[in-house]
Each structure stands twice: as C-alpha cells, then as structure tokens.
Amino acid sequence: MKLKKEKMIEMYRKMLEIRHFEEKAFELYGQNLVPGTLHLYAGQEAVAVGVCSNLRRDDYITSTHRGHGHCIAKGAQLERTMAEILGKKTGYCKGKGGSMHIADFSVGMLGATAVVGAGIPIASGAGLSIKLRGTDQVVACFFGEGASNQGTFHEGINMAAIWTLPVVFVCENNLYAMGTRQSRVMLIENVADRAVAYGIPGVSVDGNDVLAVCEAAREAIKRAREGKGPTLMECKTYRHKGHSRFDPATYRPKEEVEEWLKKDPVLRFKAKLVETEVLTEKEADKIEQDVIAAAEKATKFAMDSPYPEPEEALEEVYA
C-alpha cells in the first residue's frame, strides 16, 4: 500500500494528539481535577488512527470506556473532549457523560458506552440504517477482547453478517480485561478466528503498526462500502498504563510490559517516517511541539470553562 506523504504525516500527528492528550488527562487526574475514573488509550493509538484514517466524516464509529483515542481519531476537538472529561458545560455531552461516555454526532462519533460489549449491536443497527437509507456510509465498531465474550458480540455480529451490513468490527486485543488475561477466558489465541462462526472474513494484524492497521482497515472498509458485508478485524496491542487510573497493573509481568513498551506505536511510526525520509527529526519535533501546544490549549479551555448549572440535570431526559 502506498500512502501519500501528507497522509502519513497527518496520521502521525493524530497519534501524537492522542498520546499528548492522554498525558494531559493523566496529569490532571493526578491533581484531582478529573472527577470519577479514567481509562487511558495510550499505547493503542495505531488502532484508532489506522482505522479512522480510512473513514469519511459522514461514516460512523462506536466506542467504549477507553474511548478518548477513538474520538480524537474521528475528528472530535481536543477542547470539547477535555471539557467533557472535566465535567464542564462546554464538553460534548454538557458534563452529563464524562470520560466514559463522550459522543460527537457531528463527526459520526455515535458515543461511548461503558457497558462492555453494548456498542456491538448498536454498530450493527447503524449499519442497518445505512442499508435502509441507501447511502454508502460505513460503521467502525471498537471494542476490547474482553467484550468478545459478551452475548452482544455473538448476537450483534451474526446479525450484521446475515444482513450484509456495512460494519467493520474492530477488536482491540490488549491482552487484558482489567486483571484478566485473555488466555484465562478464551481458548483461542486470535479473536479474529471467531469470524468463521459468522461466515465473514476475520483478520488479525499488528495493532501497534499503524500502517498495517490502516491497510487491513482499508480492505475491510472497502468491502463494507461496496455492500459485501462486515469484517472482524483484530488488532494486537497493549495498554501502556493500568486499566484505570488507580490500577498499578501488577498482574502483568514486568518483562511483558517492557517488551510492549519497545513496540510503542508512536515511536515506531516516527522511526519509520524518519527512516524513509518522509520527515526529518527536526520536522517530527516541530509537529510534536505543535501537538503539545494544542493539548495545553485544550486543557486551558477545559479548565476555564464553567460547570453546568445543577438544574441542567433535569433536562434532556426526553426529546
């Protein structure tokens, strides 16, 4: 696959945006400025960016409790995303959702659900709507390997398969669901193998190689857009931090963590871009500085924003 230089640079910038956004969020949490909990996407950037770099603005995604990266990759603003995480009125959900429930319908981001696996049939439903409305949009549905043990996985994917719906099911296999290692809750190594049960293609890719993800996603999205039905795409990756902010993740062997940190998707992509002379070190640094400034700006916007008025809790229960 040959990607244009500008496209690759844009993908690198997006990955950096997610990384620095998450670092900011982590820092704010440490200062007690983030209410509730926080599930960081750091380490998995290549998945969201690799998939979403193939999507149009009018395509859809569904997301999870670990969803900041999906939002940013689909084109949500850093400012309003951070504001939502801080519970501010200027956030995407006006402070009603928080970190686990960000949605930006204006860019096709149909929302994050914190109920593990719940997004899978919802993605199929968006796919059904596309089919009934006769457009050529597609849906990318993100979820973890832990979610693939949920009944909704079976029910949702099977329906998408029998109705030939334009959905790409993207399983981000980061090896652990909270403290539970994949091998303790399923006997197969590749979640993608489950595609056989639905009669659809299943592919497993290196989820820390953004170009590999991008290529596999392009194939699956093309198939969906052409009306040929869904694909189950598994991306092997790793979360850099614990499950949520207070998890020291002692259930992961140190050597394993070190091994995966060496495969950091952001550093890997940068090295590749420099090596193939898409970017010089200096240009790469400049992009990073710009992104850091953007993350700072988003943080400032979020911090300066007001909280919602208490009575707003009563609004929007019904249309």
Binding site: P35, G36, G95, K96, M100, H101, T113, G179, T180, A313
Partner: protein, 325 residues
C-alpha cells in the same frame, strides 16, 4: 466491641460460610487473586480457597447468573458477583425469568440457593452506567428476596443468612459504604430476613431509609434535633420480605413519615412503602406521606449535576419540616 469496615464484614461472612459449607463458592468477573473484586471484597479468598471456589469469569453477566442457577439447582450454593449493579441488566432474563421462577414453575421441585451480590449507588462521578440503584426492578419479581445492609454489622449478619437461605437472594451493597467502619462482634451471628432495625428512636416523625440513605437520614436527624424535632429512623434491611409491622408501628407512634431512598421516585421502593402505610396506617397519619428520592433522570456525570439528583441531608430536613409544621 471491635470495629471493622463494611468491606471486611462482607469478606468475613463469605469466608466463614465457605469454611462451614463446601458447596459454597464464588464466581464473577475479576473476583479472584488478580484483582480481588472491583471493590476488594474478595481479597485473599482465592489464596485461601483456591481458584476453583473463587472463580474468575469472562465478561458474561448473563452466563454468570445462568451458571450459578444451574449449579444451585444441582446441589451447590453459588455466590455470584456482578461488578456494578447497573450491569445486572445484562443478566435480567436469568435473574427474573429463570432464577426467580424455577421453584414455582417447576411445582416446588427446585431449590435455588443463589446469592447475587452487586454494588449500587451514585456519588463517585462514574455516570449513567455505573451509578444506579435498581432495587425496585427486583422488588417487582416474585421469587427473589432482597437484602440491603447499611452497616458492617448488618452486612455480615444478612450475608450469612442469605447464603444459608434456600431461595435466591439479591444482595445489594453501596459503593460508598465499603470503607465505612462499625461494630461487629467476633462471635458468630446471623440476622433474620424481614426484621427491620430501628437505627434511631424518636417520637415526632418516622424516616424509613435504605442502604446509604440510612446514614444521610441519621445525620439529618441530628440536624433536626437541634430544632426540637425528634426523628425515628427505620431501616427495613430487607425489602423482600418487608417488615411492614415495624414501619406501621413507628407511624402509629409518630403520626408522620418520610421515606428516603436512592432511586428514582416514580414506581420506586418508596412508592411501595408509601402504599403499605396508606393501606395499613392511614388513620394514624397527621400529615401527608413524604418521599425523598432521585428525580426521574439517569445519573449524570459532572459533580454539580450528580449532587443535584442524589437525596441529601438538606432535602431530607426540608421534607421532614414540611410534614412537621
């Protein structure tokens, strides 16, 4: 008496019952040695009893309850943990249609000694999917018993009774109660179901409160004392069976009642308790029944929004004053 936390009291009950009865076992997501349960209730139990009896499951709530049911009707005593009460929705068929109905539907052949534990409650900013209190859903299903302990003492005694009960018991805990300390005797005890506890005696007004709201009611009662209002706080402890007599007796004494629950008002538990009072003690009432509950909204994330919907001391004091003056 020694003081221990609600969390430790629950763990003691689990441990003692596992020692006493080999058919008792635990299952749930991350209840084992790697995480010790989301709220650390099961800490150390996998090390002591092994991974067979403290069983980590895949993220499959429906199967967790279904598997518990199957084991229960064939001689085991499973204790299933659902990580957050909101997620019981995924297991609703198994709970409401299978577990609850097996005994009746099969003409009394089945015994279903399952305990289903889960934490409820708002107040920690984890939004609409992790903060609800759903006891009213289950109270509407004949066949299920419901326990809701508000103190470490009640937690231990009720959990032991739940485990020994031959019927399915929904056991509802509250996230904010886990670190709360209270007196718990060293020696063995159980607490019978269907017996309310008067958490505070008073003569002017009755507050019936459940789970975490018991504590809010008690501090509201302190505030009201300063204004010369003597509040009685009744904690039903189990909703099914419900100790109607204790509630009616208290109303006979005070002539006034406010019901404080942490769930939405419409068709909530407070509606049932109000109906009991209306049916059985109307003649003793000197003022309308008051309900303090959440408004009919999901639980929002942002702190000012969330605090707005949860009943608190102020809203309780206000409600009581409205029926006292």
């Amino acid at each position: 008496m020694r003081r221990i936390t609600y969390r430790d009291a629950l763990r003691e009950a689990l441990r003692e019952e596992m020692l006493r009865d080999k058919t008792v076992f635990l299952l749930g997501e991350d209840v084992g040695r790697y995480w010790n349960g989301a709220f650390k209730v099961t800490k150390g139990l996998a090390e002591e009893f092994g991974d067979e009896r403290v069983r980590d499951t895949p993220i499959s709530e429906s199967a967790i309850i279904g598997v518990a049911a199957g084991a229960a009707i064939t001689g085991m005593r499973p204790i299933a943990e659902i990580m957050f009460g909101d997620l019981s929705a995924l297991a609703m068929d198994q709970i409401a249609n299978q577990v609850a109905k097996m005994r009746y539907m099969f003409g009394g052949q089945a015994k279903v000694p399952v305990v289903i534990r889960m934490p409820f409650g708002a107040g920690v900013n984890i939004a609409s999917h992790h903060s609800q209190s759903l006891e009213a859903w289950f109270m509407h299903v004949p066949g299920l018993k419901i326990a809701m302990p508000s103190t470490p003492y009640d937690a231990k005694g009720l959990l032991k009774t739940a485990i020994r009960d031959d019927d399915p018991v929904m056991f509802f805990e509250h996230k904010l109660l886990y670190p709360v300390e209270g007196e718990v005797p060293e020696e063995e005890y159980t607490i019978p179901f269907g017996v309310a506890d008067i958490k505070r005696e008073g003569k002017d007004v009755t507050i019936v409160a459940t789970l975490y709201m018991v504590h809010k009611a008690l501090s509201a009662a302190e505030m009201l004392t300063k204004e010369g209002i003597d509040v009685e706080v009744v904690d039903p402890r189990t909703l099914v069976p419900l100790d109607k007599q204790a509630i009616v007796d208290s109303v006979k004494k005070t002539g006034r009642i406010a019901i404080v629950t942490e769930n939405c008002k419409t068709a909530g538990v407070s509606a049932e308790i109000a109906a009991v009072v209306a049916e059985e003690a109307l003649d003793y009432l000197d003022a309308p029944i008051k309900r303090v509950a959440e408004p009919d909204t999901p639980i929002p994330f942002s702190p000012p929004l969330e605090q707005f919907v949860i009943p608190n001391e102020k809203s309780i004091v206000k409600a009581v004053k409205e029926i006292v003056y």
